[in-house]
Subunit: 180 residues, 2 copies
DNA sequence: AAAATCATGTAAGCAGTTACATGATTAC
DNA sequence: GTAATCATGTAACTGCTTACATGATTTT
């Protein structure tokens, strides 16, 4: 089974909401990067060109953008069909790579203090993200009910809230266990 | 900051427990792949050769292996130092890519039934992994107390148990929300 | 005797990151 | 006037996967 480039679907999916520039897409992707999807800059712009070549999107220069040219991309019917075909496929199992747990696996090579240091760092990062989630949740709930994407955005945020709370509970337990 | 190949540390870390063949390492990695670390076959064998060239491991043919040659790798003091230096570094933030949530993000392009199908698939996968965790936990708890790696193995399993339970709770909530 | 597993490996090619590069516009 | 941000991109490099390849040994 050939590997499928998913950058293209992330881009197409965002363009179903509204037409945007590469930079706009980049900004949205950056907010997602903390939780469930990350893209690098160097993938995004070439992909936009490729999608245009393939007829999945069209583009035009924003007239109001002056000398700093702003190219706005819009999804085509072909692009919508292509996206939908992918959306309907069963989710492919994702390969996990969490460095923290790899290191924890090899903790017998560290002192208890060193291991505790890693766990504390992990705990702080989870706390930071949980706080970030709170502000994102506030923003989502303030916005209009008319936006069709919002119930799903809320669901996703709720998922990560529940996940991170579980992670914090685990941190407490892990630190207690190591301190004995 | 240059990217660091982490395959090498996964290999070295496993070799601190005991000397093993490439195939043995592959088997251990496969069990980890469901949770927090995955490696592909095509990375493992070349890496073992590279580590040997760099003096991080040594190897010898297992005498008892007959015509089906079995090459056993052992970590060197240099390899141990190299591993430890990495273990001490703060954990690098990991880039998440969960296709399920990318698709859920774009669920306004699907019908409610189609979206529910994805959630059910996700729920079943989480349930399967939770069950796998239970059997792994039983095995860990049966083994000797003398094994230094076990308390950490148990901690890691507990982490994923808590995580997956949170995910299941979220699935329930998500399905209720969509069915209204 | 066939199937499963043990055991080790390579080639091709796309995926993905880091670092670099350029210039315009806005905020302080 | 300087820093931050807007805006778009490329080059070089390594990561990583898929598919393929080979042969021995054990289980059914």
């Amino acid at each position: 089974m050939a590997r499928i480039n998913k950058t293209q679907f992330a881009v197409l999916g965002l363009l179903t909401r509204k037409s945007m520039s590469g930079y706009d897409i980049k900004m949205v992707l950056e907010r997602m990067a903390n939780f469930y999807w990350s893209e690098s800059n160097a993938q995004l712009y070439p992909m936009l060109k490729k999608l245009e070549q393939d007829g999945m999107v069209t583009s035009s220069i924003d007239e109001s953008s002056g000398a700093r040219q702003r190219r706005i991309y819009a999804i085509t019917p072909l692009g919508q069909q292509f996206l939908r075909d992918w959306l309907l496929k069963p989710v492919a199992p994702s390969k996990q790579r969490e460095e923290f747990f790899l290191k924890l696996q090899f903790a017998p090579n560290l002192s208890t203090e060193e291991t505790l240091g890693h766990i504390k760092q992990y705990q702080e990062e989870v706390e930071d993200r949980l706080q970030l989630l709170d502000t994102m949740m506030d923003r989502v709930q303030e916005e209009l009910v008319s936006n069709k994407a919002l119930p799903f955005a809320e669901l996703i945020l709720e998922h990560y809230q529940m996940l991170f709370q579980a992670k914090l509970a685990w941190c407490e337990r892990a630190m207690k266990k190591l301190n004995v």
